[in-house]
């Protein structure tokens, strides 16, 4: 199926920042094409004039009080970081 070629799966994986092996690309392309084919059932649904339901309860703009509350200390917030330095999270270079 043209919609989901191996090339497209590679591109989507890159957009989602997922390193895939060649074997994964081949397998996922086959499996996901099958799933996508199944999704085509939605083409039959008559949704003319129907508003999309992002939420079901119809809540809107729930406001909180603008008051300070206790929050994590810097130490707690950093406790799970694999690499840190001087109270910061250490990240790979953005530009190389």
């Amino acid at each position: 199926m043209a919609e989901l070629s191996e090339e497209r799966v590679r591109h989507l994986a890159w957009l989602a920042r997922l390193d895939l092996s060649d074997e994964e690309v081949a397998r996922f392309t086959r499996q996901l094409a099958e799933v996508l084919d199944y999704f085509k059932v939605l083409d039959e649904a008559d949704v003319e004039g129907v508003e999309p339901a992002f939420h079901v309860l119809g809540l809107s703009n729930v406001m909180g009080e603008d008051e300070p509350r206790p929050t994590l200390s810097q130490e707690e917030a950093l406790a799970n970081a694999p690499a840190k330095e001087g109270g910061y999270v250490k990240a790979p270079a953005m530009v190389v």
Partner: protein, 464 residues
Amino acid sequence: MEVVEACFARVEEVDGAVSAFLRTFKERALKEAVSVDERVKRGGKLGRLMGVPVAVKDNICVKGVEVTCASRILRGYRPPYSATVIERLVEEGAVVVGMTNMDEFAMGSSTENSAFGPTRNPWSLDRVPGGSSGGSAAAVAARMVPLALGTDTGGSIRCPASFCSVVGVKPTYGLVSRYGLIAYACSLEQIGPLARTVKDAALMLEAIAGRDPLDSTTVSSPKPLKASDVVGDVRGLKMAVPRELMGEGSDERVLNEVWRALKLYEELGASYEEVSMPSLKYALAAYYIIAMSEASSNLARYDGLRYGHAARARGSWSEAYAKTRGEGFGEEVKRRIILGTFALSAGYYRRYYLRALKVRALIRNEVLSLFKRFDVVVSPTMPTPPFKIGEKVRDPLAMYMMDVDTVTANLAGVPAVSVPCGFVDGLPVGLQIMAPYFREDLALRVAMALEDELKLYLKEPSAV
């Protein structure tokens, strides 16, 4: 404290065979049990769950212990805070004994997608316990704990409840706080109880329900559930039975058990009528598109910087990020992120994501209009009995099809209960009861009526 000790004795006896738990905290739990005992002795305010051992699905944060979503990418993660549901259970005197196995990031219907190996069904060890809350359901079924927390995005509480012959409740969207739940698909998922009996499930739900300022999607129920008010009386209730969930694709033996339950309800004074819900044909596709789209967005946060697995990679930010995620996520998670990214991408957004949201509106409207004429909607929870480990895991679409009866409640946001309704060849069958918004009491009442008649909670799982 004796109760918690007994719980650990049972875990040690049977969990080698079942693998319901990823981690248990004996020392921590016994310490908590002692302080609960002291609370009782002091005569302080007593909770509703004093000293009750509770198992927690591995995607709900418990401060200071390891919580991984059964994923390599969160290995070693220790949340700096507890989820609201955990705070509420502890307040009521419950004791968290351990974290249970699940499909990675709650993506699956069999618990085979765990990075740490599958859980086995206590009724037949070569079969799956259902998923994604399979560890929680198996722990309750194998009598390791009386109560467990699960989460339900498209059936993940009800499916394993059905496969393990326990009671599971997917609450109304917004009834239970998701603060501290590690997100998969925010507009669909809810935390809920798994228990041996309807009464126990109601009690746990009563304890965790209610508005939470830390989760802006929570609402106060217009009529908060009181577990003590739930009685198994169905006289005068009108039940709808959708043909779309009672035919093609469902195991005949499962349907027979469901019809038998419906006849029983009739004898108990309820009435049922077969109805047609044409939009259910689209439910599964709409559900998967929405869930995958939300997942691709929610899981973008796993970058290996602030927590979790980090690949030892040289190169740019993007390359290191991609390597971390390629190593850290399992197959099903990758598949869903890719398809979710596709459904949200320019050129496909309208055809897939937006269309799925419109179909969701159709389905919700159909469900709500049905509740104008009926009190509850009854169907099988699962189209088949529990399947063999390995039977479907290589065929994603076949696995997705297992959710055909459960996703509707998540799309519409209505509550649904799975209650044991029978066995085929020694394997459990569950009955699903959907009710209108915030009418958990009604679904639980219908479930309790069946439980009172069948008393299936007295049946011990045969394989452990």
